[in-house]
Amino acid sequence: MTGLATAGQALDFDELIGAHQSMVFSLAYHFLRDRESAEEVAQEVFLSLHRNLAAIQSPQHAAFWLRKVTVQRAFDEGRRRKRRPQVALEDIAEPAAAARPGDPLLGETLRRLIATLADAPRMVMILRYQEDLDPMDIAELLEMPVATVKSHLQRSLALLRGKLERRGLGEH
């Protein structure tokens, strides 16, 4: 805890945890695919937030700051643990039973496929579909050109779509 922290800041910090814990945890969880690692990352992120609380200017700034730091920590943890399956998206085996839209099996299949993407496109997909961010916001968070974000999105979606359509899940 910083020596400058006041009772008011402590209250705000508690509110920030309550408001953003699922966002921070989920970004790390979808990226790392490991609940324990994701909680460790999320905890580090909030401890870091507490150390930097004086620099946070608004609730919107807090949300942006948390997303950015979570992304960085998730990348670091991913590199450190090297747990990501080293299998190309194209090489994932077709499930025996075809899933249908809304089927939990399809959701799990999609998460598995996304987990095989390289770090940058995987995080782009997570930020797009978990956080519903547009390419410009994603580009700002990841410090990459908007065109690169769009390219990652298009390529990842094409790969996923092709894989699922081969299982008979086309346009609905």
């Binding site: 805890m1 814990q21 699922s22 401890l47 839209p101 399809l106 959701g107 997570i126 346009e171």
Partner: protein, 96 residues
């Protein structure tokens, strides 16, 4: 938005951490707060180093003192030996 967008939105929806997550964050802050400050840690490390050096110095000093005492005893033996030789020489001369 097509079917794949919808499915991805559902597959990557937000999840909650453990129910005690916030409490564990607060506990970690509490633990960090009660760790010794960096200044105190520096003083503790310095004091530990000083004690180690002083201890090593004490052992060295005792070893030095032991060596001095050994040399004094050897010198005493040499003096006593020389005196004994001198006395024996005089005794032999008197007997002649």
């Amino acid at each position: 938005m097509d079917w794949l967008d919808r499915e991805l939105g559902q597959a990557l929806n937000r999840k909650n951490p453990s129910p005690d997550f916030a409490e564990r964050v607060r506990w970690s802050l509490h633990v960090q707060k009660h760790q010794p400050a960096h200044g105190l840690q520096w003083w503790l490390a310095t004091a530990a180093a000083f004690v180690s050096v002083a201890g090593a110095g004490g052992i060295g000093y005792r070893q030095h003192q032991g060596e001095v005492a050994r040399q004094q005893v050897m010198q005493a033996f040499r003096i006593a030996g020389a005196s004994l030789n001198h006395i024996q020489t005089q005794v032999r001369e008197v007997r002649r």
